[in-house]
Structures are given as structure tokens and as C-alpha cells.
Symmetry: C2
Subunit: 387 residues, 2 copies
């Protein structure tokens, strides 16, 4: 594969604070994030808008969302298309905006992620389950929650661990959310005692093992690296990306506890960016479930199989640890408005790399890693950012 | 906008014959089209698959479709993402595959369109209506059919025409479908008498003014033009593309009968390809409704406002006319499996430009135009192909 494309940088970010139920409509949420990102980049003209959203078909009865939001944001005449990859949808929007700029088809492109989940909860859960196989998995009662519960059970059994070994993931995420004004749980203090007292949501998963349902929208502005400084004094480079799909159903994979698409996607992204895993300063990980977080750390190679939980238990994932993850709260505590999550994560990496992460600022990070997981691990997108 | 991307060509096509109700499942339809296209291109490895589908969320209860179909087609490890733009969804998949190859991120990319609509008819119509505004249009009973009926009424009134002035669109489409074995109506003979006797479906629209609901899947294989001949002895160049979004609701546009996004998108595509409208040898047009067909011909500039119907009435759109359109049956008679339609049209343009259109073959065409319309004209994608 030759790289005939231009280099791409992020020159603006926009985040609507995540809430349990926003007074804004879906289109307003989306347009709000777009406008914030445009203001940050100082642009008035946008060539292309790529919109990531997973659930509007069911929850708002709305398709054709990219055109609708382009209109709402005042982007008449721009290119506007919607992209999806189940729970990794936000990262798919980022991917498309990257391709549009790298190919020279857009001077300025925006990737927007938006989701409004404050709706009937049963409807949300059943719409989310469509990320799984509608013929072979869902009729048996499978949901994203049940699939992750199954993975957790298997993990605890195979490696002889206890669910409390995973507490560090929630403790880290919630501690970081307290320093992020955009986080859903920015003012909730989650202690070890609170985790101990949490109810089981799907055995063995406890409340703090799963990310919350919420509303949110975030956007980033992309342009060619060569002209990035004309837009923003601190552009962030998109060094590489890699998208990989695995066998769709967990049951069809050699080892359910090995996220092979995560391994391959990360390896390829590291190769393309010419960096090593050990160079990464922060990792915004797809912590929709604590077990998924653990399996990703193992799959990317930050821990041996069966050892991912240790990074949490021993504090290495905290901001003062060797591999800070979920530095602004993660999906767990910033919130997981599905189609928007990876764009929030991108914004947060940009904040860290530009020294604008406020009280959660890491000391001089240079390389940020983002990995997003669709469904039960069949889609994985990896992006690497640098300054 | 600089063009830093590589030039892109189509090196393989695959079409599953359109049917009213396929015995194949959605995923089987999709995988079948992918395999046909790969066989035509002689490729065993694919870097990226972009899937266009509009209705699976409701009709099959399935999201995460790109990963599912990649698995079904044996494309484990490939990049696989879903894209959408309401009724222009197939063209959005083509756009994405183009960006992936032009940017150098994929050596070989496939654009797939797939739709399975043989389901509960009320469910289909209500899912299709989600292409309109769920807050401001649908609650008042608006559907794609009712919006097009409204446009037709307005057109007939403003220009003092009769609905029978539009008969030529259906006559041309059905005559061409008779020569296309992949067409839904390949064996149905539609005469003037039959059109005269057709029932009204939504006044003033008659049965033959609207495209049928059906099942289908089509795929095309893209690679860089520089290496295209290594894949296929008759590659077809993608000369340019342009995507434009207009105000979402017809009510918000200056003139409901002017498809401004169509005008702008075509003008930009002509400019980028450095060709003139009059150079076009065939036009695969978005003839989901005869009024839409007419308005597009006017918007692109092939007819003055109020005169588009004349191209049909006077036979200029027939295969032996000045501007052949819908040369293999169009959405009207090849069938309009929504997310797949623009990919079928792309395949048909490739057939025409490579002299493989069978009994519908035009004499030595060099330039083909494709335009796809999302919703009631708020999204328009134009692609130009050449040999």
C-alpha cells in the first residue's frame, strides 16, 4: 500500500458536555458541537461533514442525519454523509474525515459524533443489541451487556481472578471524570466502598463495570498538516489509522478472550506511524465494559494475556502511572453516548497533547493512542495522534 | 482544494439480479455481490469494504452491517464500514471507497450496496420516511411518495402540463429493463395502454411514476488507475465526484421545483473532470419518481425549467436519443433496492463504457454520468466515469 495522501492534522475541537438527558434535540446537539469545533478552528467554511450516530433510526425515528445536521449547523452546500460501525461509530466518522482530507477532496472536514439516548431504556438496549448478529445471537437473548458478562465470567474462570481485581478501572475513570467539566459524572465521587456496595447488573458485571447511557456530541476539524498552523497555533497530527474487522460472532473466533482485531489494528497503526507501543504517552481506550478495557490492554500488548487487570489494580493506568488511560473519564465516567464517544476521546487526546487538559493535564505528552471497538470486538479502529 | 490524491478506476463489478423477494438473506445478498465483483476483478485480497444500506435497522433488526457482511464474504481483517445518505446511500459507499483508494489508505477497495425490502410493506414505507424530517415533516404524514406527489402537483400547475407528459420516462425505463437480465422487470412489457390503465398510487402519481420496492445487491472494485490494467483489461476511470447538501426540507428552499444541490453537485463534478455537460454519452439518473427524473434533468442543465418532460416525450432519453438515460432500466424498472441502486447504476455505466451492455449497448460511449438523490433532494452525489 503506498501512501499517496496528504498528511492530516486536527485544528479544532468542540464538545457539548455529556448529560443524562439533554434539553437539546439530536440535531441541536450535533450542530452545537459542530459550531464549537468551527469556532475553535476559526473556520467559517467547511467542505465536508461526516456524522457518526448509531441509534437515531430507532430513538429519534430519523435517518439522513448528516444532511439534517449540516442544515441545522448552517453548512448548506457542504458534503455531508453518515458513517457507522456500531459502538465504534465515532471513530468511523473520524476515519472518513481523514480520508476526505488525505485524498485532497476536502480542504476542511469535520468529524462529528452525536447520540441522544435519553429515551425509553428498553428501546435503547434493544437498538444497541443490533450491533450483534440478528439471526444467530439476538434471538437467544444476547445483548452487548450479556456478551460482556459472558467474557468476564470466562476471564475470571480461566485466570482464577475475582471481579474486584477490576475495580481500578472504575476508580481511575471516575477520578479523572472529576477533573473534566464535560464528563457526565464530573461531580460524582466514586470510592472503593461505593464500588463494593454496587448492585450486579448482569452477573458477574456490577454497575461500575459498564459505561452509562447518556446524551452527547463532539466534533473535530481536520485539514492538511501543511496548512494547519494557519488555522490553529497548536495543531495535532493524525499520524496513522488502521481499521480491522474480525469474525463477527465471538463464537466463531479461536479464542473469545483474544481481541485479534485489536491486536492487528494496533500493530498496523504503530507500523504506519513508525512508533512503538512503549512510546505511547496516553491511551484513550474503549472502556465500555471493564472486561473490554482489560482485554484491549492485553490485545494491544500492554499486558500479557490474563494480566490486563493488573495495570488497573497496580495503578499503572492512573495519570501518574506508566500508561495513563481514560484520562478525562473514559466511556465509563465521561459517559458513552455511542456514536459520539470516539470523537470525545479524540478531543481529549488533543487537549492532553496541547496542554489544555486542565487539572487532568499529563506532563508533556507527545503521543496519544485511541482504539475503538464495534460490537463484541469484530470492528476495531486504531488512531495515533502526535505533536 | 488541491488534488493530492491518486486517480481511481473501477476494475470489477458484481450484480445480484434484482428480485421482488430474494430467497437470500441480507448478508448473503451482500456477500454474493462482493464475491461476483472480486471474481470479475480477479482479486482475492481486499483492503477495505464500504457498505451502503438504508433499512436493515428496521427490516432485519441489524446494525453493524459492514463487519457482518465482510465476515460472510470471507474478508476477515479487512477495513469494513457502513455509510449512508438516505436514498442516495449506494453513492455514498462509492464515495467512501473512492476516498480510501485516492488517499492511498487502500490498494483495493469495494463499494457494496445492499437492501432487502421484501418485508412488511407498511414497515418499509415508514422506515423510508425517516429520510425526511422526523420532527417537522413525518408527524404531518409526509412520506417520500407524498413529497414527490406534491412536487408533481406543483409542476403540473406551474407549467400547465398533464401527467401523461411524463409517460416517456416509464416507457424508456421498461423498454431498457427488457434487455437487462438483472432487472426486476426484465420480462414485463409496459406499453402506453398499460400506463394509461395504471392505478393512481398518490395523486397525481400513478403506479408507473414510482420505482418499485425490491431486493438487491451490487458491488464494484476500485484501485488506483496506475495499476488498474493489472486487474482488468477494461478499467473504467472515476473522473470526478461531488457531494452537496441543500436545506433539508423542501419548504425551506427558495424554489421547491429547483434541485439546487443537483445543479451545484453536477457543475462541480463537470469542473473537476474538466468535461462539459454536452460531452456526456449516458446519464444514469435517480428516477425513483418520474417527477424527480424530470427535475434532475432540468437541474443538471439538460433542459430548461419546465421543459424536462420534453426529453422523455420527444424520445431524447431513449437509447437512440441525444441523451440516453436509465439505459439498463433505471430505478423504475431495473428496480430500486435503495442502498444498492447507485451501485447497480455504476455497474451499468461500466457495462456501457466497456461494451458489455448486451442488447442495450450504446454505440461507443466514452463518458457516463451518475447522479444520486437522498431524501427529497437535500443530498446529491454526482460521479463521472470515463474510458
Amino acid at each position: 500500500m503506498q501512501n499517496c495522501g496528504a498528511e492530516v492534522s486536527i485544528v479544532g475541537i468542540g464538545q457539548v458536555p455529556v448529560t443524562a438527558a439533554s434539553p437539546l434535540s439530536l440535531r441541536q446537539l450535533g450542530a452545537d458541537a459542530v459550531k464549537r469545533a468551527m469556532a475553535d478552528a476559526g473556520v467559517e467554511h467547511v467542505d465536508a461533514l461526516f456524522v457518526g450516530n448509531m441509534l437515531a433510526d430507532e430513538l429519534q425515528g430519523q435517518k439522513h442525519l448528516a444532511s439534517l445536521i449540516a442544515d441545522q449547523a448552517g453548512l448548506r452546500w457542504a458534503e455531508a454523509l453518515q458513517v457507522r460501525a456500531a459502538t465504534a461509530t465515532g471513530a468511523a466518522a473520524l476515519r472518513m474525515a481523514y480520508l476526505a482530507v488525505a485524498s485532497g477532496q476536502a480542504d476542511v472536514a469535520i468529524a462529528l459524533g452525536v447520540e441522544k439516548m435519553s429515551s425509553d431504556r428498553t428501546q435503547v438496549i434493544s437498538a444497541l443489541a443490533k450491533a450483534l448478529d440478528a439471526e444467530l445471537e439476538v434471538p437467544g437473548g444476547a445483548t452487548l451487556l450479556s456478551q460482556n458478562a459472558k467474557l468476564m465470567r470466562l476471564y475470571l474462570e480461566r485466570y482464577g481472578r475475582s471481579i474486584s481485581d477490576f475495580d481500578g478501572f472504575a476508580l481511575n475513570a471516575h477520578a479523572n471524570a472529576n477533573g473534566n467539566p464535560n464528563a457526565l459524572f464530573h461531580d460524582r465521587v466514586v470510592t472503593q466502598e461505593r464500588i463494593n456496595a454496587a448492585p450486579i447488573v448482569s452477573a458477574p458485571l456490577r454497575l461500575y463495570d459498564a459505561a452509562p447511557i447518556c446524551d452527547g456530541a463532539a466534533a473535530v476539524v481536520l485539514t492538511r498538516t501543511k496548512q494547519a498552523r494557519a488555522f490553529h497555533h497548536q495543531p495535532v497530527k493524525m499520524l496513522s489509522a488502521s481499521v480491522v474487522t474480525d469474525r463477527f460472532r465471538i463464537a466463531d473466533r479461536e479464542d473469545p478472550l483474544h481481541l485479534a482485531a485489536s491486536t492487528r489494528s494496533a500493530r498496523e497503526a504503530f507500523r504506519r506511524a513508525n512508533v512503538h507501543r512503549s512510546d505511547i504517552d496516553l491511551f484513550e481506550v474503549h472502556d465500555a465494559f471493564s472486561i473490554m478495557n482489560c482485554l484491549i490492554l492485553e490485545a494491544v500488548g500492554f499486558a500479557e494475556p490474563g494480566q490486563g487487570w493488573r495495570l488497573a489494580a497496580e495503578g499503572e493506568i492512573f495519570r501518574d502511572g506508566k500508561l495513563p488511560i481514560c484520562t478525562m473519564g473514559g466511556l465509563k465516567a465521561r459517559g458513552h453516548p455511542i456514536g459520539a464517544s470516539a470523537i470525545y476521546q479524540t478531543c481529549e487526546i488533543v487537549q492532553q497533547l496541547t496542554g489544555t487538559a486542565g487539572q487532568n493535564q499529563l506532563p508533556d505528552p507527545r503521543l496519544g493512542l485511541l482504539q475503538s471497538v464495534g460490537g463484541a470486538g469484530s470492528t476495531v479502529l486504531t488512531h495515533i495522534f502526535g505533536v
